[in-house]
């Protein structure tokens, strides 16, 4: 035990002496959470639109005002003819063009129906889809209001209640995602590299011939990172709460415990990666390429998993961050107790054990 503590101290010294790395390790998550919390959003904001109003009557003006009054759209240009559409899209700024047909108000009055044509620049189909929906929602809202005012018979009024995130803040979606991504990458990369580094430098051999047991070596190497990552996790939660107004409805001890579990999972993945290679560069590339994109794309961080093709949804189930994000959202936003997240927790535990067992197997093979 005494030997082990000595070894542990050495590991801490390694990390804390390297000031530059330390600054990155603590500074990076903070910078990233702040940056991404403000910047990464799938909300639509300030999209530039152009309007081609063939009618120019009271109603079209009202609709235009409604649309521009929302914070979603800003007017780039009023067009006067259809010929301008092509060139304005090529220039690349305008994403949507609204076209009101002529005699708009008259037709609406007389036949109860009038047409608006929306053309989008769908090079970004996701945005195009969103802005059409947003625009349509504003127009639908307007026509509903019109009907209420004009005393239409038999009105059905829809009352909507938004649960858990009444202001529809996209930050609530992204903070848990950023947390999963940062913890996953930092923990896995750090461990895989620090272990391969010992191998590359040849110091691993020295450790292996020492009376320390392999398990002790691994625990000693990983321990500082558990603490480091835990500090990072707490920092991210605090930032989420105080900077972005994320609520923590559920139990904080449970939230922290789940974080520790996820950190352990990421570390054991790091250990697994380190058993597959003996140079730092390869370990880094493996952690980087193996984890970065899948963590961003398949965890539900940015893109909802339900919308993906079935095959990919199955693959997404194999991504540990996916389950972690569910747990975090449930605890923070819904105030869920352990009774409702035990399944996801169990999955995380299973992943952790799985990674550890494989690493131990691989490690033993190497020793023989």
């Amino acid at each position: 035990m005494k030997r082990f503590i000595g070894f542990l101290k050495k590991e801490f010294y390694h990390i804390f002496r390297d000031r530059r790395t330390l600054i990155i390790l603590f500074g990076m998550p903070v910078a990233q959470v702040l940056l991404f919390g403000f910047v990464i959003t799938n909300e639509i904001k300030n999209v530039k639109i152009a309007i081609l109003d063939h009618s120019k009557d009271e109603i079209t003006k009202q609709i235009t005002n409604k649309i521009l009054a929302s914070e979603y759209f800003i007017l780039d240009k009023n067009l006067s003819s259809d010929n301008e559409i092509e060139s304005i899209f090529k220039a690349g700024n305008v994403k949507e063009i609204l076209i009101f047909e002529n005699n708009f108000a008259k037709k609406l009055e007389k036949y109860g129906k009038a047409n608006i044509q929306i053309i989008t620049d769908a090079t970004d189909p996701n945005t195009a889809n969103l802005i059409v929906s947003y625009t349509s929602a504003i127009i639908l809202n307007y026509s509903n209001r019109l009907n209420v005012q004009s005393n239409v018979p038999m009105q059905i009024q829809t009352k909507t209640r938004m649960f858990y995130n009444p202001e529809l803040k996209s930050v609530f979606m992204f903070v848990p995602g950023i947390m999963a991504m940062i913890l996953m990458l930092i923990s896995a990369i750090m461990t895989s590299i620090s272990i391969t580094r010992e191998k590359e430098m040849g110091t691993m051999e020295i450790l292996l011939v020492s009376p320390l047991k392999p398990a002790q070596i691994i625990i000693g190497k990983v321990m500082p990172y558990v603490i480091l990552s835990f500090i990072n996790a707490v920092t991210i939660i605090v930032l989420g709460m105080y900077v972005f107004g994320m609520p923590v409805q559920g139990s904080i001890p449970l939230l922290l415990a789940e974080n520790v579990l996820f950190i352990l999972l990421a570390l054991s993945l790091g250990i697994l990666i380190s058993t597959t290679t003996d140079n730092q560069q390869a370990a880094m590339m493996k952690s980087m390429f193996g984890l970065l994109l899948p963590t961003i794309l398949l965890s539900g961080f940015i893109y909802p998993i339900e919308n993906m093709p079935i095959a990919l949804q199955i693959v997404a189930n194999l991504m540990p961050p996916r389950w972690f994000i569910i747990i975090i959202k449930d605890i923070m936003l819904k105030g869920t107790s352990f009774a409702f997240v035990w399944k996801e927790t169990l999955i995380l535990v299973a992943f952790t054990l799985f990674f550890l067992i494989i690493s131990i197997k691989k490690f033993q093979i190497r020793l023989e």
Binding site: N42, A114, E167
Partner: protein, 373 residues
């Protein structure tokens, strides 16, 4: 010039000799391209719906039938208790609850007015907003039908005003998000490879000590840096070609603009990326540090680039920050040229910016690399 040739030869040999790196460079990125492109969609298809129909009238049935028939909704539960429905929402069994209160139809006939409630899980604000819109428009459609049924076609039509919306999506009428993502993810992959290979390269020589031997030779600094850049530069261009072939064959992305233009801009862009990598190499002492620097900048640049989320939606300071983000410029150019067929003139501002970055970063890397301390 001859010295550059020797450095290039040496670098290529070292890259191809590192067996554990080769799959990282050539296989994994392309596999990721094939798989991950499919994930990147905001298109909403299956909103899990919970129906609470306490009315059970013909009108309410008509409404639930409409929801059942909609492509957006997927009825997962029906119950008569709002509390129960809220629990389902809480347990993530459904995303949206449609509550038709008791006496809905009666109210509608008697008071000419009736309410319907929607309870939505709003953790994902955007999805919640869209679900609300889809549900509301189905209900509005029902409203019109009801009026028509009671008052006849002519009265129904003129009384209930409806603004119909037709939309068409240019450049990508099917809203195929894959064609949009392929160029973006391709950019990300070649950036990653270039940045990390270059970032680790010089610092690795520092760590193993061979840099000392180079520094004591009369080699010119810029020759050395150029010799180090070119191999990665060639690999990245090769990778781009491979990715475009896959994009064309598998995802059928339109390649409308000029391929010459695509490759020329990529060549400039890669100079920026590689120079950043080498610059990181010159300011760090070991591979671990270099990796973290590269990782940090990479992640920030990528997530801000507009690859996954629209740049327009960012706060103004984010957009200003993006002016120094080479990835943002390049993704924009790739999408414009490949998908819209933009020409040299259209993307000239981006080309100028990228060239300036290239000159700046390359100078910084050369200047900061010291043969003599």
């Amino acid at each position: 010039m001859r010295t550059i040739k020797f450095i290039i030869q040496k670098e290529f040999k070292q890259i191809f000799r590192n067996k554990s790196m080769l799959p990282m460079i050539f296989v994994i990125p392309l596999v990721q391209l094939l798989v991950l492109v499919n994930a990147a969609t905001f298109e909403i298809k299956n909103i899990d719906l919970i129906i609470v129909d306490k009315d059970l009238s013909s009108t309410s049935r008509q409404l639930t039938a409409k929801f059942n028939g909609s492509a957006f909704f997927n009825v997962v539960k029906t119950t008569f208790s709002v509390q129960q429905a809220e629990d389902y929402l809480y347990q993530d069994i459904g995303d949206l609850v449609l509550v038709i209160p008791q006496n809905f139809e009666k109210q509608l006939v008697k008071n000419q007015k009736a309410d319907i409630q929607l309870l939505i899980n709003a953790i994902d604000g955007v999805v919640a907003g869209l679900s609300n819109y889809y549900a509301t428009s189905i209900i509005a459609g029902l409203n019109k039908e009801v009026i028509t049924r009671w008052y006849g076609v002519s009265k129904g039509n003129s009384a209930y005003k409806q603004i119909s919306i037709q939309y068409s999506h240019w450049y990508n009428p099917e809203l195929n998000y894959k064609t949009f993502m392929v160029p973006g993810i391709l950019v990300l992959l070649i950036t990653n490879i270039g940045l990390f290979l270059a970032g680790m390269n010089l610092v690795r020589e520092k760590e193993i000590g061979t840099i000392e031997q180079i520094n004591v030779t009369p080699i010119k600094k810029h020759h050395f840096i150029i010799g180090k850049l070119i191999p990665f530069w060639i690999i990245s261009l090769f990778e781009l070609a491979l990715g475009l072939i896959i994009g064309k064959l598998v995802f059928d992305i339109p390649i409308i603009g000029s391929l010459w233009l695509v490759f020329s801009v990529t060549a400039i862009y890669m100079l920026v990326v590689l120079a950043i990598g080498l610059f990181i190499s010159t300011i760090t002492e070991n591979q671990l540090q270099a990796m973290f620097f590269a990782f940090f900048f990479n992640l920030v640049f990528i997530l801000m680039s507009g690859l996954f989320t629209a740049v327009e939606s960012m706060p103004t300071w984010g957009q200003i920050l993006n002016k120094i983000n080479p990835i943002a410029y390049f993704i924009r150019v790739m999408r414009m040229v490949l998908l819209k067929g933009s020409t040299f003139i259209d993307i000239l501002p981006e080309i100028i910016s990228l060239s300036m970055f290239a000159v700046l970063m390359f100078s910084l890397a050369v200047w900061n690399y010291r043969k003599t301390s």
